[in-house]
Symmetry: C3
Subunit: 371 residues, 3 copies
């Protein structure tokens, strides 16, 4: 585009420059040339449009999950006696959110009151006399506020006395077998609705062909019942290649991953929930520090004389986290669209989708499209 310097700018402005071309008339050279051209076009359409989908418009999912656990367990311990556990007892929190916990093992300390008792013995709490204990001292790893006295913890050991919820929990004797053995047969109904607002695409994991009577008796099975949204806890843990009863002793976190990734360039019945299961907390044997999952909670009571007592429960169990992800994609590039619309048999499907998403984009409060 040079060559303008010695001329007036006006004349330069209306110049048009182009390369001088050579035309080679040869079947061999021409064939090679056309082959290369064809390969480039093939690459663009085949790789860019179909494989890489560089020109797709995508949207992220808005998801809503509710869960409901069913099942009853039975325990018989010295602390609690014979006892039946139903969902209101073992499902914490009870709200049926996307993360739910099923109690499988526990250490129960009933009838705690605000009072004083000797600390659990360890290096820093064992004492010989009151002078070893500091009144008001409050160790972050201890169980209460020291009173300054040294008391008999057992016949052989003396420890500093603390003001605390007494008697203290002794959590070293975790049952070797999970208490709530029946938990492996509990089931959970997972209801998951997803919305891709940009495309006004709405779908739920209870598919249109699932009716109430099927839902009352079905159970998810990857081969026989892949659409049933009711999962047996043991099956989910097995799919993550874990053993339920082993995991139930010290607890853990299991991910229920629902993948709604859909490509509207493919027929719509391919666009359904894909379930997978994965243990999310650590279980590497060679670095097994701080394993499992547990937390403490208490049930509070008042005695007839108005004093507060509580039952402290150190709850071990499996937390199930429902993780929903997905991206909806749809070709929007002119070239790719033209190619896909004219050259594939899914022409009608495409045209429908295109107009659907253009027309209904602000119509999302009406009846969700049932595809």
């Amino acid at each position: 585009m040079g060559g303008c310097s010695s001329q007036s700018c006006h004349s330069c402005f209306f110049e048009y420059q182009t390369e001088r071309m050579i035309v080679v008339k040869s079947k061999v050279v021409g064939s090679v040339f056309r082959l290369i051209q064809f390969l480039i076009i093939f690459y663009v359409i085949g790789y860019v449009c179909v494989v890489q989908k560089s020109y797709q418009e995508t949207d992220s999912v808005i998801s809503s999950v509710t869960t409901k656990v069913k099942g009853t367990g039975f325990t018989n311990t010295s602390d609690l006696g014979a006892r039946v556990w139903d969902v209101a007892d073992y499902n914490i929190p009870p709200q049926g959110e996307s993360s739910f916990f099923v109690l499988t093992n526990m250490i129960v300390t009933p009838n705690q009151t605000q009072s004083t008792c000797p600390e659990l013995p360890n290096q820093s709490t064992i004492c010989m006399s009151d002078s070893d204990c500091l009144e008001g001292s409050n160790d972050v790893r201890g169980n209460g506020i020291q009173t300054g006295l040294c008391m008999n913890y057992s016949e052989t050991v003396k420890t500093c006395e603390v003001l605390s919820w007494c008697p203290l929990e002794i959590d070293i004797n975790l049952p070797e077998h999970a208490l709530l053995v029946a938990a492996e047969d509990f089931t959970v109904l997972i209801k998951n609705s997803v919305t891709y607002p940009k495309f006004n695409f709405h779908k739920r994991n209870i598919l249109p062909d699932v009716n109430s009577s099927y839902l009352k008796q079905c159970e998810f099975n990857r081969k026989t019942d892949p659409d049933c949204p009711i999962f047996r806890l043991k099956d989910m843990v097995s799919e993550a290649e874990e053993d339920f009863q082993t995991m139930a002793i010290r607890g853990g976190v299991l991910g229920i991953i629902i993948d709604w990734s859909c490509d509207l360039d493919w027929p719509e019945h391919y666009c359904g929930p894909k379930y997978s299961f994965r243990r999310l907390d650590n279980k590497i044997p060679e670095n097994n520090v701080a394993p499992g999952y547990n937390f403490r909670f208490a049930k509070y009571y008042k005695t007839t004389d108005g004093r507060e007592t509580r039952t402290l429960i150190k709850a071990y169990g499996i937390r199930f986290d429902v993780i929903v992800f997905g991206t909806l994609s749809f070709s929007v590039n002119a070239v790719c669209n033209w190619f896909l619309l004219t050259c594939t048999k899914r022409r009608d499907y495409y045209s429908k989708h295109k107009f659907t998403y253009l027309d209904n984009i602000d119509d999302n409060a009406g009846e969700p499209v049932s595809y």
Copy 2:
């Protein structure tokens, strides 16, 4: 770049090849040429920079949501008598997180104790004699552990006895009108702070022009009070094109979607929260299996003789999920920036922003910038 094979590589290295050009001096051809050039430049600036924003730098939102529900309801049922419900009663969980639940309907089963009672009658529990019941049997859809006895459930029906929390909940008589009618007039204050860490952009949904006295009496209205962060529950449900009292009977999930998508290429007051409301659980009438939202929880008491009793509540209600999303974008491409900085009137705004985000990028712990 061929033609080097027969020469020394050194000589070849310093060769410069260029196309031979033809210069056409014609006002017609030149005009067409310049027009095409102009269209290409226009496309690059107009489409790429302004419409597609291919060169924008983006950042995802870090969000914090707290909620607080206000309002008092009154119920008068045979189970509970006349009773006032305040937020500590109907708001479960009480923590004011981004997902909160308002109880609207319920089935209450008071004074349950661990004991035995005949199962609810259905195909698998109805029995003629003890031989129809299997001691220790524990159906995942049942309510307890069978004792092996066949007992009178009513004068006409016998069912297998179970060890369970008795009396059992009878959940077939869900009130046809939501019990907590007043819930539609409850209000919720939503506090939402967002941060885009990459741009050190910090904003909350309580805008700078909102003062305490306005906040004490305002209520969100899309036309008259679009900035008030206090929402009447009924209004939110209406915006999602649902009827509150209908939804309140069987429960549901309502999404409160706050969109903070901002484009800093536009004046800053365009960058505020945009609220929308959408029912998230299913409500397609033709596939109405497993509708609504409910869960069971219990309040535990101890009698004077130390036995545990509980009140079981099957809670129906509306779960509100606050969903915050947004992407902050800002042109960073040199060409686009130059174009936008020099050719638009928002020059000062741009320059300010550029230097703001470059200077303050690590200064995020100080006073949040109030824009």
Copy 3:
């Protein structure tokens, strides 16, 4: 590609057109030409591959967080007397999820029962006689249902009587110093496992070199103990440039941000959790409406005659939200890969990673790779 119009299409198809080239043999022109070529190549490799990473494949993180707070506090108030608080008392919800709350201040209203009492005095509740009160009236900002009577609230003020949980909470006297002073020394163990499913990359924040005995006594410190996953609450608040005791009075929300962004193009030990802390709720002094974080919850009791009483607690405290984010990236472009594989010293590392992620992509249920 013009020039075909006057010939048969067949002959045209096999034509090959190319530009006529000029070869300039000049060391000066050639040097400039090669320099420009070099700069372009340098730009492509240096900027595109290394800086912009346009050709990297990325994956988003799947994360699991569990938390456990430790520590004991002591309060001595007129409402509750001397009292020790342990984790089951002050940690709400107790489930050890990614969002946990530590109670630091409170207004306790014990022994509430369903009864009638005069409303708290304000503009709309103060009355002179019964005619100022409307039976059944239920103000959304009030505390109950009006009975229609006007009662003495104090010796000088009369207010409308309401049916409510009485006595009513008086929340204007928030303690000026946080009650649970010791909370600043509480610690929290955060266990965080992340998975990048596409790369089968699995890592946790308890690094392989951390053993149980270290974990029992360590505490996070950016300089001395950057790998310890146990955080003192006060330290986290300080890192966010806030004062714990000030924040503890009215409550707030603190974000614990764990960044797992990793670039597998760099040696693997760079890929660890990066912690940062940031106050998420508002604290702009000039717009300090609706500050802090609090919620109400109740503990329910039954008296010996079967009546329900409750202790209402307006809980102020700090909610800690653990926010995990990250993107794993890995060069996949052929040019960039070739460049990086052959020209950098991290050749072996690269090759290993490439084959690892290609081979193991579906092998994710086995032992997590310990890198």
